[in-house]
């Protein structure tokens, strides 16, 4: 009975800390809004995002088309709403794969000394290249498809996660309880999986949030260079790409998807900031 009381008390304190952290709350709300946009796109959009109406191309925002129409007469509002699916979908997939891969690489590098040098050199090499250059290069080489986009994002971001996990894992590895477990006869894989890995999860989750935010920006930037989500599937970046040449007369094709990207990324960054504050036992908020 006492244990349940203690658990509830601990959970309530955690909830209070979460609600008191303004970054976390604002970030969570914005992020949930964006996720809702992606999940409920068919309900929110009032037009078919692929339907062309060339007579009404590049028309200003009005009652019928809240965000105006694009160069093929498609409704920009609906395209922006549906774009949440591709932009966030690509970002999320890339983040999940990066997280898993980076975790594996980081843990192995930390635990097995001979792998460490090799893997970290490769990571250094990849991290030494400017991110967008690397990404455009990979997509330009492999071809502009969603699958290659995700591959490019994964290659770009995995080294960062691998380094962070590796640093955290090295610290954990030196702790006495690892020695204790090993002397009890635990095998290496078991030590890595059950004891070292759980303690590297909190920096992983925080960093993954920031990478998700970065991935959304990078996908948009790649689309801007024509190397992102291929037409006609809308993504926030490629709506801006379509509007690039007509920015002088059709500002809405830049402003609305741009503002949506900013809101989404802002939400994720705030969420990550808040998460980091909550998970770090050293921060004391005044």
């Amino acid at each position: 009975m006492g244990k349940h009381r203690l658990n509830r008390e601990r959970n309530r304190r955690l909830l209070n800390r979460m609600l008191a952290n303004r970054s976390f709350v604002t970030g969570s709300i914005l992020t949930l809004l964006m996720i809702a946009l992606a999940l409920f796109a068919p309900l929110i959009a009032n037009h078919d995002p692929y339907e062309m109406d060339v007579v009404n191309r590049l028309s200003k925002p009005d009652a019928g088309n809240w965000f105006g129409t694009d160069n093929l007469g498609r409704d920009v509002f609906s395209r922006v709403v549906y774009a949440a699916q591709s932009s966030m979908g690509v970002g999320l997939t890339a983040t999940l794969i990066t997280g898993a891969l980076g975790l594996a690489v980081g843990l192995f590098a930390a635990y097995y000394k001979f792998l460490d040098h090799l893997l970290m050199r490769i990571c250094d090499g990849l991290m030494a290249m400017p991110v967008i250059l690397l990404a455009i290069f990979i997509v330009a080489t492999l071809g502009a498809e969603i699958r290659n986009l995700i591959i490019a994002l994964t290659i770009v971001y995995t080294p960062t996660i691998a380094r962070i996990i590796s640093s955290a894992a090295i610290v954990v590895k030196e702790q006495t309880y690892i020695e204790a477990v090993r002397s009890q006869g635990a095998s290496n894989p078991r030590i890595i999986w059950r004891h070292i890995m759980p303690n590297t999860l909190s920096p992983l989750i925080v960093q993954a949030t920031f990478i998700f935010a970065d991935a959304i920006i990078l996908e948009a930037a790649l689309s801007f260079f024509g190397a992102g989500v291929p037409a006609p599937t809308p993504s926030w970046g490629n709506i801006i790409y379509d509007g690039k040449n007509v920015i002088y007369n059709a500002w809405w094709m830049t402003v609305f998807p741009g503002a949506t990207i900013i809101l989404c990324v802002l939400g994720l960054n705030l969420f990550g900031d808040g998460l980091r504050d909550l998970m770090d036992p050293h921060t004391v908020k005044k």
């Binding site: 970054s23 050199r121 490769i122 250094d124 090499g125 990849l126 030494a128 290249m129 400017p130 991110v131 967008i132 250059l133 455009i136 290069f137 990979i138 330009a140 080489t141 492999l142 071809g143 935010a213 920006i217 948009a220 930037a221 801007f224 260079f225 801006i240 690039k244 920015i247 002088y248 500002w251 830049t254 402003v255 741009g258 990207i261 900013i262 990324v265 802002l266 960054n269 705030l270 900031d273 005044k286």
Partner: protein, 317 residues
């Protein structure tokens, strides 16, 4: 003596990194679908012409041989010749280096000039309304993608108001004109940088101001301004310097975007055009060059630590 040793050691350790990058770039370029010879000659080329060009470019040799001959050339300072410009790759790169360098320096200057004073101010007035506004603005600054900001600036200052031009004029046309063309791109890149630098400045200042030696300085009766700017700033600046060093990488990345939007003939534009034209020697050479620059800048930043903080010993670990 120790400094020289350290520099040599660091430069040596960049070799494996550059090696990894060179292999990666080379493989990616040469395993790509699409034959460079076909792209260069166009769809009307005959099979003989394509074969001839391939032999000329050395594309018929086995992959590792091509890599070795390329790398041995690079080590002698010869990165090959651009197929399109018919000029040495290194020449092309150096020609395009100027505008990118100007943009990078200006962006960083804009960022530091905005960020450091604001960061210090926010640290001094911690917890106040100004501080909270600062924090909100700085998160916003990181969240805005470069190209969105750039496009918005153009649509406002060039299209609507006609105040600022797009394009590039070298410093020889007059410093003011040169800066006029670079102002918008510098702001585009500088805003994101400023947000990062400002946050780090604030965090570092807050930590420094709570240290004992600051209390001592205040107890000795020094005015607050002297305490903050003369004593605290020097100590707080170290992590800020790290961020500034990392910013160079971000500026190089962002330069690609900014140069394309604002039509600046820098390295970003060069690589973009080269990728489209499959000018593979330029692509390889440029990526290697940029990586080398990046690594060099990190080295310089690390060396600057010694100037700022004499306690730092170069042989860490």
């Amino acid at each position: 003596m120790r400094v020289t040793q350290y520099i040599v050691k660091r430069l040596l350790s960049t070799i494996p990194v550059l090696l990894v990058v060179s292999v990666f770039v080379f493989l990616l370029v040469h395993l790509a679908p699409g034959d460079p010879a076909i792209t260069i000659l166009g769809p009307d080329a005959t099979v003989e012409q394509i074969e001839q060009l391939r032999v000329e470019l050395g594309l018929d040799a086995p992959l590792y041989q091509q890599y070795v001959s390329w790398m041995s050339g690079v080590l002698k300072g010869d990165m090959g010749e651009s197929v399109f410009a018919k000029r040495p790759v290194l020449d092309l790169i150096l020609q395009h280096l100027g505008p990118s360098f100007s943009l990078a320096v200006l962006s960083l200057a804009v960022a530091i000039l905005i960020a450091v004073p604001l960061g210090i101010l926010a640290a001094r007035k911690r917890g106040s309304l100004a501080d909270q506004m600062f924090m909100s603005l700085s998160v916003l600054g990181i969240s805005v993608p470069h190209f969105v900001l750039g496009l918005l600036l153009i649509s406002l200052f060039t299209v609507r108001l006609g105040w600022l031009p797009i394009g590039y004029k070298p410093p020889s046309s007059g410093l003011l004109v040169h800066l006029q063309y670079l102002l918008m791109p510098a702001i585009t890149l500088g805003v994101g940088l400023a947000a990062l630098i400002a946050r780090m400045t604030r965090a570092s200042m807050i930590e420094t101001l709570s240290m004992h030696f600051i209390k001592t300085a205040k107890a000795k009766g020094l005015r607050e301004r002297a305490v903050v700017y003369k004593h605290a700033l020097r100590h707080a600046f170290i992590p800020v310097l790290t961020v500034i060093g990392q910013s160079f990488g971000l500026v190089l990345s962002g330069a690609l975007v900014a140069e394309t939007i604002f039509n600046i003939p820098g390295m970003g534009q060069l690589i973009f055009n080269s990728m489209q034209r499959r000018d593979f020697l330029v692509i390889q050479g440029l990526i290697l060059f940029v990586t080398f620059l990046y690594v060099l800048i990190n080295l310089i930043v690390d060396l600057l630590y010694c100037v700022i903080d004499p306690r730092v010993r170069l042989d860490r670990k």
